[in-house]
Amino acid sequence: MDIALQIPRNALIWTLVAVVAVMLPQVTRMPSWVIFIAAMCVAWRLLIYAGKLDFPGRLLRTGLVIFTLILTMTQIRNIGVGLDSAASLLALGFVFKLIEMRYKRDIYIVISLCFVMTLVIFLYSQSALTTLYVGLTVTIIISAMIALNRSGIVNDNRGTAMLAARMVLQAIPLTVVLFMVFPRIAPLWAVPLPSGGGMTGVSDEMSPGDLAMLGRSADLAFRAQFEGDSAPGHEDLYWRGLVLDNYDGFTWSRTRSNSAFDNAMDTADFRFRWEGRVETSGEPVNYNIILEPTRQPWVFGLHLAEPASRNLNQTRNFEMFNSGLITQRISYDVTSYMENQTDLILLSYARRRSLQLPEGGNEQSRQFAEQLRASVASDMDYANAVLAHFRTNEFFYSLNPPLLGDNRVDDFLFNTQEGFCEHYASTFAFLMRAAGIPTRVVVGYHGAEYNRFENYMMVYQYNAHAWNEIWIEGQGWVRMDPTGAVSPDRIRLGVEAALRNDPAFMDQSLFSAARLGGINWLNNLRLRLDAIEYEWNRRVVNYDEDVQIEIFEQFFGDVTERKVLIVLFVMAAIAIGGVGLTIINLRPTHHRTQADKLYFKVSKELARIGLARNKGEGPLSYRDRVVAQRPELKNEMDTFVGHYLALTYQSKSGGEGSRSELATLRSAALQLRRRLPPLRRFGIRAG
């Protein structure tokens, strides 16, 4: 076997490290048997390396392929064709190649597959941390490539790693240029990405306990950044999600349209009547939201929110929907009207929907509602009276309320009097509807944590909230938050403050705002890390065709094909040229000490009298040759060469010479040159 085709042993180890590095992030996602086989293959290859095992025979290889095919078929039957199964298959082929790689050619295949596997990492996560990890992985893979091309004698793993890291760092400028300028192409065919297993968040059904479940989670729901200083105060941060107007006595749900026709009618109805249905006053608030994947289509916005991004549209109840399920982080722009009135005229079907209650049950509450309504003059007074009832009686705000009986509203209102926001919103809506006031439940988030490092807000799952909107003649839909009556802190300071002493609050998360809130520097660190993640998402992950065109127009005006090409080439050339200068040595790097310079100068002058220094001639033999031909120079030549040798080879300063040593040498040179005929037209320059 030709030695040139063999895999250097260092390269093999680097490759195995690279394989482990690219597989590591997949460990939790892949079926355990794939991980098991992968570990076996790496171990096997290590044993071959150690000389304890041989390469697998033909029979075994065929067996492995058939085995994999069968396993893959069953897996595809179980979980379907998708990225997960494709990634598993790729990983299997990849690790099998590992145990049969013998030559350099094989290792190049493995290395290329390593790169493809890093792509798979990005398909699942694009966070800043993942990117750092991928950077490290790419460095390891490149180290493997370098080790492969170094001769086996050079055993310098540190040098290999350093060179790889240097190459990756030097590649960054060009990468950034290509990333920013290279025209993005629209997907050739649409492929749905798997979601990163994120939280569903607020859903279109609300049963008791649903929001309390979210209250235990410190996962991020979304981040919002306001233009300028227009961010509203905490008590105004009602992130409206869905309107639930259907009640079956247990669950509030969104009225779903039965047909595509209804949906189309909804949209058309809305578009047609927007101006008639909405009255706004005051300055609109513009902001951007980056929503974590939910696998749901709806998105959130403050109050009456009008989407400014293309893929969003609005429904009749002023909810916002994305055109597809949100399986990746998305970023959208919204304009909100903080002061607004909607639906001053309530259409009869909407009124009917907003008054609907189950036939019977909860008689005590219905009675309570009728009596209370009769005792006050207006609907608004009645609503305030109900809020006052919550406030003045012993109602508690808790994540762990006791279970409720069959007549849930009665039980809650007159018996347990302890609940989370959904209990209050649900009860309030019931009491309103029972008194003939059109009411609906709104679910979304309330509050946010402000990140002062990058000036944006972080909204967590525990910010999930439910409140009500009641319809009042002359005012349209009016927001009512019964939770605020029970726990003013919840609205004023946030859920963290209101539930500080509730052990169930965020008990699923170890590190969270509330837990770390007490330790100042840890909290700062957490906020800072999130700020990095936010900026990363906003600027890098969400960099798409639209942003690209926007930035391009900002700098270079209209986008034309020619201009894009020119900008791309010029910037790439600058990047390559700039980095290239750090790679390629253009100047001779031959370093000459002061003493050397003097020595060469003298020998040049000796060359004028026909005593040029021969190539490779040492100082001593040169001296002897000069003295042999010009005995009158003996003293000067001896002194000069003696000083030169002493300075270059015996000096403690390692050839550079101290100041006094150099001065001695200089004067010796001068003495010697004085003895030479004055050949220069302008005389001899000293020193």
């Binding site: 290329s112 091309n149 170094r150 590649a171 997907p187 050739l188």
Partner: protein, 280 residues
Amino acid sequence: MLFVLASILIFIAAINYAVSLAFGLAFLMIAVFILSILYAFNNLNQLKLEGLASPPVYCGEAAGFKVLISRMADRRHESLELVFPDGATTHADLVSLDQQEVTVFVPTTRRGEFKAPRLRITTFYPLGLCRAWSVVDLNLQCLVYPKPITFVMNEFNSGSSGNDDAAISKEGSEDFYGLREYVVGDPMRQVAWKNVARGQGMQVKQFVDYVDDRLWLDWDMFYGFSTEERLSRLCYCVLQLSRANKPYGLRIPGITIPPASGVGQRNKILRQLALFEGGA
């Protein structure tokens, strides 16, 4: 090639899944690829090659040309491959030493002064993705001796001692000795044409050399062989005699080297054999 293929694959996946960072990964790979070109170039950049004197070889052997590779201070050159066309590749690294002598082999096909073809120095370092190379003419030369051909040398090993004037003869070219009948294959030059004209039939002049204990390696010792074959046999004789440390001289057309012994004599004679032009 696979590397480029992988980056294209990643690029297509980036388009289809609309994953921003996958674009970044593909672009990073392309950037690394471009940089590897610069690195490969720089691996040869400022490398100094010098041809050194190369020892003579016998024809048919591979001539080993000595090349001195030297680097500037603070530079490293790794995984260099030096090769002549049709020759074997020599690997070299300049990592710890400032200069290094490597031998690059190329097969020889004919005797004489062999001027080396241009040397190609190649490197795939650091990533093996692209090749940097340079073709240099180092003006390398080496002497190719004739290929020695073995034969049994008893003829002139025996009885070579004796008194000076005793004309121990053997067929040679120096002095006329007599005539003999023509045998097919004898050179026309030696036919005694005068006798033919007298009607005495084809006769051939015979010459002899007077041999003393100082051996003469004579062109006509291998009478009937072609020039190259003669030279090859002479070469073998030289090697054998030199090994036996006997004095010997050379007599070939145009060149006469008096007998002597020692390495100097051997090299002198082999050189003449290598450079011999003309012939019978």
